[in-house]
Symmetry: C2
Subunit: 218 residues, 2 copies
Amino acid sequence: MPKVTIAQNILTANDTIAEQVHALLAARGVRTINMMSSPGAGKTTLLEKTIARLRGRLVLGVIEGDVETSTDAERIEAAGAETVQINTRGACHLEAHMIRDALVQLELEHISLLVIENIGNLICPSDWRLGEDLRVTLVSTTEGDEKPAKYPHLFATSQVMVVNKLDLLPYVDYDLEKVKRQALAINPELRIFELSSRSGGGLDGWCDFLLEFASAAL
Amino acid sequence: MPKVTIAQNILTANDTIAEQVHALLAARGVRTINMMSSPGAGKTTLLEKTIARLRGRLVLGVIEGDVETSTDAERIEAAGAETVQINTRGACHLEAHMIRDALVQLELEHISLLVIENIGNLICPSDWRLGEDLRVTLVSTTEGDEKPAKYPHLFATSQVMVVNKLDLLPYVDYDLEKVKRQALAINPELRIFELSSRSGGGLDGWCDFLLEFASAAL
């Protein structure tokens, strides 16, 4: 099956670069998160609110992945974090070589926590390691309560699930307990945060977790 | 650039099968829609409501694409339409050969309108023709108002855009006019429907359009 072999080789090459990226970041004392979700689940807004809440306590750097446009990077810059935009021009995930190239544009000596906002997609990003220490998958209460069951690989390879848009729960048909049950059946180690970037509810617990994560020994 | 050449060959092979699928469906008098969106924008719920509203007036058949699970096919069956489930086991789009294989499981002589619900994804499906007459892209008011600008290829290759979850507009930061402006700048021919599957608002116009589309000369 030559097609499978080629794909595996590409993934192996990606993993090698991901290890180099991880080693480089670890040497600089930077901890790294790969953040993934559907389009519109709220990754950028959560980052904006997180940067604002942690101002003076934790310096974040952000690598923004988008197919097109630099609007998300502009939002993150405006929120006060150093940002590099990657446009994949059609590709549905980030790859480790893109991160390696983006790192030279960041002043890593000032950054404690690097967040990579991946392309909005529940499928493609899950196979591609980027050199991260932690994988965070966002779901939101407006996108249906069967996402872990439908996209198990992403939840199986993440360490954290954030359920966002909790403020909209009264207006949608979303069984939060079912989602958590599904996710934990796939990955019993998954740490779960429930929050609303818009109302601010649950952000304290999330920010405390990031502070602890960023300061933990590498 | 061998990588590009291979990709083009695969797409050309897909287009050939898509033309065969289209010819087969046209010969049976079946019109076909390829429906695409982010995960959780509401494709399945819109289909459920559409099937219920058009009962006795239009017979729909549905091909359900999902990475895993058959929950969506079960919902569509329960709503009263003949359904075939395709599980792609990781792939982020449907391909024409999958549709060709699924068609043998449908009683096409009873069906006037075939809806293919593609994998929830704003990137991968846009390059893959499935033999459809019409491409419908759904967006929803809870997923942010920059989707056309961020994923232009999908909107450029669709004929219809449905804006769903209009009932949630009062609770979210979503500039509907901006979304329509963005989409029409990419594709001035795009026909736009605004509706809420949950409240039922706007469904009449959408269903009238489908009736007209299904009865138009092939």
